[in-house]
């Protein structure tokens, strides 16, 4: 089975600074994969590398077996990878519906059915569809950002810390939505700070430290790993 996304032995960074020193991550069809790690470990950099937003010096990124290393962002989008940045991920002066239309920019067919599907997936957005996205709450903005990214029915969805800055109530909501999106058939690669909840919804997880792979296991396996608990989950293994 070919991985949907395969990041192989990647060295990359910004300018002269190398941030990742040989990181390998893959996402198989149907999976939710989570990358966790301390600040500065290179989690977001790995994700940005897929989008040609950081400078790759070695290694390869493959989508369905095809090399997409260093491709310009709009080309990557056309290949079927959609990305939700951590901040500034909605067009604040555009209405919710216009955000979804922009999400479907590269499509040439009628966007209406897909927009309606998004309103079914994210019911709160339907009543706010004429409102500028900038006036929405943090959780709802995150929904707009995800719905916008899903407009292209991507082969894989990349989420950079989707719950950063959200209240616990909204965090649960976002993770539930992540699960729903995945159940509907879209593989997901996500970077997360809220490691415990994230691993709870993940099929597999990677732990990056100092720009290198430290651990790789199933979500359950990482949650039960005492070292991981020590490092990221508040000092004790979760009750199994």
């Amino acid at each position: 089975m070919t991985a949907v996304l395969n990041i192989a032995d990647l060295y990359c960074g910004y300018g002269e600074t190398e941030i990742l020193h040989g990181v390998s991550i893959h996402v198989d069809p149907g999976e939710v994969v989570v990358i966790i790690g301390p600040n500065g470990a290179g989690k977001s950099t790995a994700m940005k590398a897929v989008f040609g937003l950081s400078r790759v010096t070695r290694g390869a990124i493959r989508l369905d077996g095809e090399d997409i290393t260093g491709l310009a962002p709009d080309k990557v989008v056309r290949r079927g990878v959609c990305y939700v940045p951590q901040t500034g991920n909605v067009f604040v002066n555009l209405s919710v519906e216009e955000n979804l239309e922009m999400g479907g920019y590269v499509r040439t067919d009628d966007l209406r059915p897909r927009i309606d599907e998004m309103y079914t997936l994210f019911p709160p957005l339907k009543e706010k569809r004429r409102q500028p996205a900038g006036t929405l709450s943090g959780g709802q903005r995150q929904m707009v950002a995800m719905a916008k990214a899903l407009m292209l029915e991507p082969k894989i969805l990349l989420l950079d810390e989707p719950t950063a800055g959200l209240s616990p109530k909204f965090r649960g909501e976002i993770f539930r939505v992540v699960r729903d999106i995945n159940t509907a058939g879209t593989p997901i690669l996500m970077v997360e700070q809220n490691a415990k909840q994230a691993l709870g919804v993940a099929d597999r997880g990677y732990i990056l430290v100092d720009g290198q792979n430290r651990l790789e296991d199933t979500g359950r396996g990482l949650l039960d790993n005492p070292d991981v608990a020590e490092m990221f989950l508040g000092g004790r293994a979760s009750a199994a």
């Binding site: 709009d74 989008v77 056309r78 940045p85 067009f91 216009e98 920019y105 916008k148």
Partner: protein, 296 residues
């Protein structure tokens, strides 16, 4: 009272319409490419000369040939972008501003080379004003300028609110980075911005020429109030630019009314200073402008 309306308010609305149409292009360029385009004035001049040339060739009214002048000026701007701005796309805004300054000089020299430096008139002769209700006097050319400006504003609104290109322009004005990772063809959006901004500049230049005359510095002379209008409205806010243009135009004209005593409040020779004063005041007290635009 009628003196105020006929000689100050109406001319203010006419001038404001010209500024407004000119300011939309400045605001769009500023919002999407993030730099103040100094060549915009020369673009307006170029558009006016094209209109004049088409009038010479065809004998039609300026407003009839204006669409052709707008399209050609738009294409010129797209070409200039390809040749001069595109290689500098990743550069700092200051570099782009300097490049636009250079283009302004080149464009002005080109105009002088082709058409000469003498002053020309677009609509010859004196037109009798039309009188409404025995008191309201407005000349036909002023009605045409205001009418043309209103039509163009409606067009810009339609473009920005209902078309895919217009929405992508607003999206890119919001966040170029997000536009890129969303898959928006940012180069196509930039081309559209130049085309529309320069087309409108041609219209503003033509309106100005209809109101006054055609000369090689005409666009440069209104560049300051046009910038003031864009800043007053809020950078990157085309609707703000329309409102800002009207406010600046009306403010300039009514500042010369004899509000106190018998003489004008501001001598007509200094009325350009009014636009400057408004721009300075806005930058100090409300840099985001009336419509909450971008602050640099």
């Amino acid at each position: 009272m009628m003196e105020f309306i006929n000689f100050h308010l109406l001319p203010g609305i006419v001038l404001g319409s010209i500024y407004a149409i000119g300011a939309i292009g400045v605001s769009l360029t500023f919002g999407i490419m993030r730099f103040a385009n100094f060549a915009h004035g020369a673009t307006m001049t170029f558009g006016a000369y094209l209109t004049m040339t088409f009038v010479w060739w065809t004998g039609f009214h300026p407003l009839v040939v204006l669409p052709a002048a707008m399209v050609l000026t738009g294409l010129l701007a797209v070409g200039m972008d390809r040749a001069f701005y595109k290689p500098l796309r990743a550069s700092h805004a200051v570099i782009l501003v300097m490049a636009s300054f250079g283009l302004m000089l080149m464009l002005r020299s080109l105009i002088q080379l082709v058409w000469g430096v003498q002053i020309e008139t677009l609509i010859p002769g004196i037109q009798r004003p039309i009188v409404f209700f025995d008191a309201l006097r407005i000349s036909p050319r002023h009605i045409m300028i205001i009418g043309g400006a209103v039509l163009l504003m409606i067009g810009v609104h339609y473009l920005l609110a209902y078309t895919k290109t217009g929405k992508a322009m607003r999206a890119m004005s919001d966040s170029p980075d997000l536009a890129r990772v969303t898959g928006i063809d940012t180069e196509a959006v930039i081309r559209a911005t130049w085309f529309i901004g320069a087309g409108l500049a041609a219209a503003a230049g033509t309106f100005l020429a209809m109101d006054t005359h055609v000369e090689t510095q005409m666009g440069f002379k209104i560049l300051l109030p046009v910038f003031a209008a864009a800043i007053l409205g809020g950078i990157g806010r085309p609707y703000g630019a329309m409102a800002g243009g009207l406010v600046i135009g009306i403010a300039e004209e009514i500042s010369t009314y004899s509000w106190f005593g018998t003489g004008p409040l501001v001598p007509p020779g200094y009325k350009a200073g009014v636009a400057f004063a408004i721009m300075v005041a806005i930058l100090i007290w409300r840099p985001s402008g009336l419509f909450r635009g971008r602050v640099f």
